[in-house]
């Protein structure tokens, strides 16, 4: 009896708070979704992982490309210091297959967006502006920069990113990849909820 009373009371108390948070935080579903079926795209990415292993003996992965390019820049600025670092002794800072993959991804996404009339050309995503205000350029750049720094550090510590662990590692049933993938989402969900729903 009592519990049946509590639930409607809770709903009445909590629902204004939820709807207020929704208004302040912007709804992702009000913006455009994927152009193609996510199942078709996922299946084709699955086939792509087979092709990269067969033709290049490389699993799909993106994060180490940034480390190699950072190492190349480091080698230009401080060659001795960079070459002395353990990571760059194990992973030479060179233009390799993965660096080319990431360059290609920029071009491929451009072609897809151009083909679908989805080129944006903007500094602030609409959902960001709806939450953090129009013209919040400095905040966005600062948060994006900090996010990138943490993400790369975390990727190297974890041994991969959403592609390397989340797709290639997970599909090869690596235990570490599944753990990392779950942790990516735990950290990401907590952060996004704090940013958009509090």
């Amino acid at each position: 009896m009592r519990s049946s009373m509590i639930i409607p009371i809770l709903v009445v108390l909590v629902s204004p708070a939820i709807s207020a948070a929704q208004e302040a935080g912007a709804d992702p579903l009000q913006y455009s979704g994927p152009a193609w079926s996510p199942y078709l795209v996922g299946a084709l990415i699955g086939v792509l992982t087979m092709l990269t292993l067969y033709f290049s003996n490389k699993p799909l992965g993106a994060s180490t490309a940034y480390a190699r390019v950072a190492g190349l820049i480091g080698k230009g600025v401080a060659p001795r210091h960079t070459q002395a670092l353990k990571y760059y002794q194990d992973n030479k800072p060179v233009i390799d297959w993965e660096v080319m993959l990431v360059f290609g991804a920029i071009g491929g996404a451009f072609l897809a967006a151009w083909h679908g009339g989805e080129l944006t050309g903007e500094w602030l995503p609409a959902m960001w502006e709806a939450r953090f205000g129009e013209g919040s350029y400095a905040l966005r750049i600062g948060v994006a920069l900090a996010g990138g720094i943490l993400m790369a550090f975390g990727a190297r510590l974890a041994g991969g990113c959403t592609s390397g662990h989340g797709i290639s590692g997970a599909l090869q049933l690596s235990v570490g990849s599944w753990i990392a993938l779950i942790c990516f989402f735990v950290g990401g969900i907590a952060t996004a909820m704090l940013m958009f729903r509090l």
């Binding site: 579903l29 990415i45 670092l85 353990k86 975390g154 235990v175 950290g187």
Partner: protein, 191 residues
């Protein structure tokens, strides 16, 4: 041109054919990421808010198709596996730090490149951050290799081994589970 270079090691420079293949595969990857909607900020933040499940649908389908395809090709001797090493401390601590960064930036390393290609200029700040963060890790790598990375180092541990099943048996159970998960997600989500 022949594809005779199946042996690529870190010490040898990548052959030009492989650099060109990397670029080609990257173009396909970026094209698919954009068409799948996962170069869009609101789609990526949407999954972290548990409101837009496009990312989950793309990833689980890729994992399902890729697992069947890659293990079939491996059984036929066509490909070598590249199983990522399991290091519990690194995977968990690094994974959580990655997640916080992912939430802040709203793009991951692969989709960030795709976001830039699509014209989301804020991805430039993210990419600059990715390079700074990589270099900072390299600065700490000597110490981390001797400490955190050694904790819970289990080598190339795979899920079938963990649960004590042979690979084919595991796949016969796991692949239908992934498909069932996809069907449920498709039924209960709006996007």
């Amino acid at each position: 041109m022949t594809t005779n270079s199946h042996i690529t090691t870190d010490t040898k420079p990548t052959p030009p054919v492989q650099l060109a293949l990397g670029l080609l595969f990257g173009i396909i990857f970026g094209f698919l990421l954009q068409k799948g909607g996962v170069a869009k900020y609101h789609v990526l933040v949407g999954v972290l808010l548990l409101e837009d499940f496009t990312v989950v649908k793309v990833m689980l389908t890729a994992i399902t198709v890729g697992a069947v395809g890659v293990f079939a090709m491996h059984a036929l001797g066509l490909v070598k596996l590249h199983v990522k090493p399991t290091r519990y401390a690194g995977n968990i601590v690094g994974g959580l730090i990655f997640g916080v960064g992912f939430g802040l930036l709203g793009y991951c390393p692969g989709t960030g490149a795709a976001a830039l290609g699509q014209g989301n200029w804020d991805a430039i700040a993210g990419i600059a951050g990715l390079m700074i963060g990589s270099y900072l890790f390299a600065e700490a790598s000597g110490w981390l290799d001797k400490t955190l990375m050694k904790v819970g180092d289990r080598g190339k541990l795979m899920l079938p081994e963990l649960v004590g099943l042979r690979l084919p048996v595991f796949l016969v159970i796991f692949v239908p589970l992934l498909i069932a998960g996809l069907i449920v997600i498709d039924q209960v989500t709006r996007r």
